[in-house]
């Protein structure tokens, strides 16, 4: 009985206590359900987003760069399909076998093989290794033929930059290549759109117009697993190709420039004297930018870098030369404008001029006799210009020269390597050299020697502004959005000149005319320095001025020796220069030619102009017909 009693009492205790627990259970279960509810119903959106963020990964693909075309729409920097070869390690059955096969098929170097093995160990098994970025078509076919034997190999087609005219546009366009970290960080757009394997502009317009050309990334959305492996593609968002940029240049003229310079060091620029359109801008020697696309080989790089003619330098924009006699039109104009001389003013040239015991030689030892402005220009008499410069003074000459664009960058921001050159004055010398100006320096400045340093493009601009009647133009290399007819352009130039005093390059239009006539006679009249290079047909007839810039002081002994150009060491030879514009009646184009160490301007540079003018003027009609075929906004 006691036991039974105890048993019943025990049962009561158990039941009572069970009840307490039961109540606790209900509360706890309710709590858990509440928690579930808060996570799954209240915060569902938040966790859904987090879950998508987990599983969806975006891959940016390299954007497709915009084309650059010449004035006629020919692609000068485009995109080409290239074939790449990828290895996907996780699909490879026998890595060593594959490598030996590839090595024999593609003639890969041991170094390359080593690189691949290294990459393989670094990457995750599903990440592809790029064996070749630019497979030749024949190699691509070979690989495709043996594909059954090359498990884990994937031929991939991608798009790469391509310069169809190779070296013709290198100095204008620059090139693209893989950026380094600094270059990525330097440009926000690049930073935002960068993906491995993407190439950016390293030089020239490719660099300057990066943000226009770059295009937007195509985006692929993939579902990935926790290890980042792509499981399946969810979406492909197309990118937009970069903007198409149309340049003012004419490929035919540009090509001709290259041909005429024929790998001699030098530069040719051609400009529309009203619109400022740059028709050609060639720096020689050039090099093939396509070599840089996939990383240039050490041999090729050494060849370019060590070339004494400096192909890496854009001589048109950053080559600094003494203008030599090509400065004479400006000296003459300055003297006329300042009423120092009249067209009938004459100087007697005896072949040299003495000043404070120093002798200043004319290029013609026997002298020119009495010369007027026109004759002095025509025969490039140095003595006349010594005297005019002496009368004019360097400061007044400097004002005119700077008005015509010397000492300033021509294209401004488009090329970061462009140099501004120098046209001295007395203040400049005090400030920079700490010494007072010497009159002798004025004399040699008057014949384009001494401190004066100009870029070929500056000389071209100067010539263009003389040719158009003294109007300030703004040179450009990218086609304007709203093109104007020639008449409109001329009218606009005149209007601008009326309103803005600084645009006015002259006081008396007759002065410009006098200089123009003098340049005409220099080319088209007997005894003119470039008479041999003249064209009589008025359609092509041009006016010009030769220049021969000394690169070193000529010693008395050398002057007596009167060496032939072949007898002088290359480095000591004079630079040959020529500036010209044409056609003489209704001029339209100006050019400047420089052949480094080419000897005399009349012998080396002027004949190039003769060849070039025919082509330029023949193409003028075509150019006029070419209307604005598309809208390009920069």
């Amino acid at each position: 009985m006691i036991k039974g009693n105890s048993g019943i009492r025990k049962t009561d205790v158990i039941n009572r206590r069970m009840f307490v627990i039961g109540a606790a259970k209900i509360i706890i279960f309710t709590g858990i359900i509440a928690r579930l509810f808060s996570l799954q119903v209240n915060e569902n959106k938040k966790y859904l987003t987090l879950s998508d963020k987990n599983r969806i990964r975006e891959w940016k693909l390299p954007p497709i760069r915009g084309d650059i075309v010449d004035y006629f729409g020919n692609v000068i920097a485009g995109n080409l399909k290239v074939y790449q070869l990828h290895i996907i390690p996780e699909q490879v059955e026998n890595f060593n076998y594959l490598l030996t096969r590839l090595k024999t098929l593609l003639n890969l170097s041991d170094k390359k093989i080593e690189k691949i093995v290294k990459l393989k160990n670094k990457l995750k098994p599903w990440e592809s290794i790029i064996v070749s970025e630019n497979l030749s078509w024949s190699d691509f076919l070979k690989i495709n033929n043996y594909l059954y034997d090359l498990v884990g190999i994937k031929p991939v087609m991608t798009i790469s930059r391509n310069y169809p005219f190779s070296e013709v546009y290198t100095h204008i366009l620059g090139y693209v290549s893989q950026p380094n970290e600094e270059e990525i960080l330097a440009n926000e757009t690049v930073q935002e759109r960068f993906v491995p394997g993407m190439k950016i502009g390293k030089l020239g317009l490719e660099k300057t117009l990066e943000n226009h050309l770059i295009g937007t990334n195509a985006i692929q959305r993939y579902e990935v697993n926790a290890y980042g492996k792509r499981i399946n593609q969810l979406e492909h968002q197309k990118g937009k190709q970069g903007l198409r940029v149309r340049l003012t240049v004419d490929t035919e003229v540009q090509k001709a420039c290259g041909k005429l310079l024929n790998d001699r060091a030098g530069s040719i620029s051609v400009m529309d004297i009203y619109t400022g359109d740059i028709i050609a801008m060639y720096s020689s020697p050039s090099y093939d930018p396509n070599k840089f696309l996939f990383g240039i080989s050490n041999d090729d790089w050494a060849l370019i870098r060590n070339n004494p003619l400096k192909p890496l330098v854009n001589k048109t924009l950053s080559g600094l030369y003494s203008p030599g006699s090509t400065i004479k039109p400006i000296v003459a104009l300055s003297a006329l404008e300042n009423k120092i001389v009249s067209p009938s003013f004459k100087v007697k040239c005896t072949g040299k001029m003495e000043l404070y015991g120093q002798t200043f030689h004319c290029w013609k030892e026997k002298g020119h006799g009495f010369v007027s402005l026109k004759n002095a220009m025509k025969q490039s008499c140095d003595t006349y210009f010594y005297e005019v410069a002496r009368l004019l003074g360097v400061d007044r000459l400097n004002v005119t020269a700077e008005k015509f664009g010397l000492g300033k960058k021509v294209l401004g921001d488009y090329f970061d390597f462009e140099k501004s050159g120098l046209f001295p004055n007395t203040k400049w010398k005090i400030n920079n050299l700490g010494k007072g100006w010497v009159l002798g320096e004025t004399l040699i400045t008057g014949i384009g020697q001494g401190y004066t340093q100009t870029t070929p493009l500056q000389l071209c601009l100067m010539t263009a502004q003389i040719a158009n009647g003294g109007y300030s133009i703004k040179p450009r290399i990218i086609v304007d959005n709203n093109p104007m007819s020639l008449e409109e352009t001329k009218r606009k130039l005149k209007e601008e000149t009326l309103h803005a005093q600084e645009k006015k390059l002259f006081n008396d239009p007759r002065n410009i005319k006098i200089v123009q006539e003098a340049m005409f006679s220099s080319t088209n009249e007997l005894y003119g320095t470039s008479y041999k290079s003249r064209i009589d047909d008025p359609k092509y007839q041009f006016a010009g001025k030769t220049g021969t810039a000394q690169v070193k002081r000529i010693s008395m002994r050398e002057r007596e020796l009167d060496l032939k150009i072949e007898q002088i060491p290359y480095k000591d030879r004079d630079h040959a220069l020529y500036i010209a514009y044409g056609p003489y009646i209704n001029p339209r184009y100006a050019l400047s030619i420089i052949v480094e160490h080419g000897g005399s301007g009349s012998r080396t540079a002027a004949p190039i102009a003769k060849e070039l003018f025919k082509l330029i003027i023949d193409r003028n009609d075509l150019r006029n017909k070419q209307k604005n075929f598309e809208e390009i906004k920069i």
């Binding site: 158990i14 206590r17 069970m18 627990i21 996570l39 799954q40 119903v41 879950s51």
Partner: protein
Amino acid sequence: MFQHDRLNNELTFWQKVKELDYILLTSVLLLSILSLFVMYSTDGGEILFHTKSHFSKIIIFFPLMIFIAFFNIKWWHNLSYLFYFAVILLLIYVSFFGIKSSGSRRWMDLYLFNLQPSELMKIAIILCLAKYYHRIKIENVNSITSIMTVATIIIIPIIMVLSQPDLGTSILIAASGLIVLWLGGVKIKYFIYSFIVFLISLPFVISFLKPYQKLRILTFLDPDRDPLGAGYQIIQSKIAIGSGGLDGKGFLKGTQSYLDFLPEKHTDFIFTLFSEEFGFIGSVALLILYSIIIIRILRIGAISRSNFSRLFCFGFAFAIFIYIVVNLSMVLGLLPIVGSPLPILSYGGSSMLATMIGFGIVLSAKINHKQMIA
């Protein structure tokens, strides 16, 4: 006496079959089938290793449960202490010769599967203490000897399991043991005393914890502390459950688990996958199924004549409840991550074996609910 004997021995096989609790049986079967589907989903929608292995375990252990049920509850009463000591021996064996995996020595190789004796201890301790309180006079329940005895019974396996180390299972063993103590009538003050002692000793306990266990507690307190390290599991689990929403992402469509973001999705985090795919509605349904099982066991306990049956049923029902609560709280980010499987649903032979044995004994208690045990 005569009546006793008749009740003891005269149930025929068919009577036993008739007396089986079919609601409990159906629920367990339903849960087993459900677990197969979930396992199929963890295998990525294919019948792979985990599904096959889980299936084979159900095929063995479900009949084992019925087999156990057909033995008279007296048997289990008589075997209780033996069972407890056998498991203790297994624990000793494991601590010397057990298979070591990821830093702890918990398993012994049984050819078919690796047995984890600590899982069996979760049942054994309930059996053992149920028998103890069945036999002891109510007057002696709160005597020092009695308290010391039960304390020893609980503490020995806990220390052994802790040393494996396996915090999760030892907590569950402690909880299972304590609940039987509570049911047996141990005074509240002892619970309060021991709680105070526990609090005081907590710093020492913490100093004994392995670095990874400490990390888990810290991570629980602030999962964003190290989102890719220790907090990863909790964060990913919450993302999976939360993104499931009201009606879930659909069967086999749980991206979190399919894409391997979920850690240990076969075992401790099985509910996460279930909840991601079946949502709030599915989760509540699962909880209802578990509740039916628990309530059924409680009912069987309530109608049992013997206090042994009653104590075991109540204790086991509470243990099941605790397993579920600890597991769910863990995956819901309410408790630190301690290894604790979800009964039947989680992959793992030992856990299923222990649970099925428990159900078997409960069914036996049902069949023999009129049985008195001396």
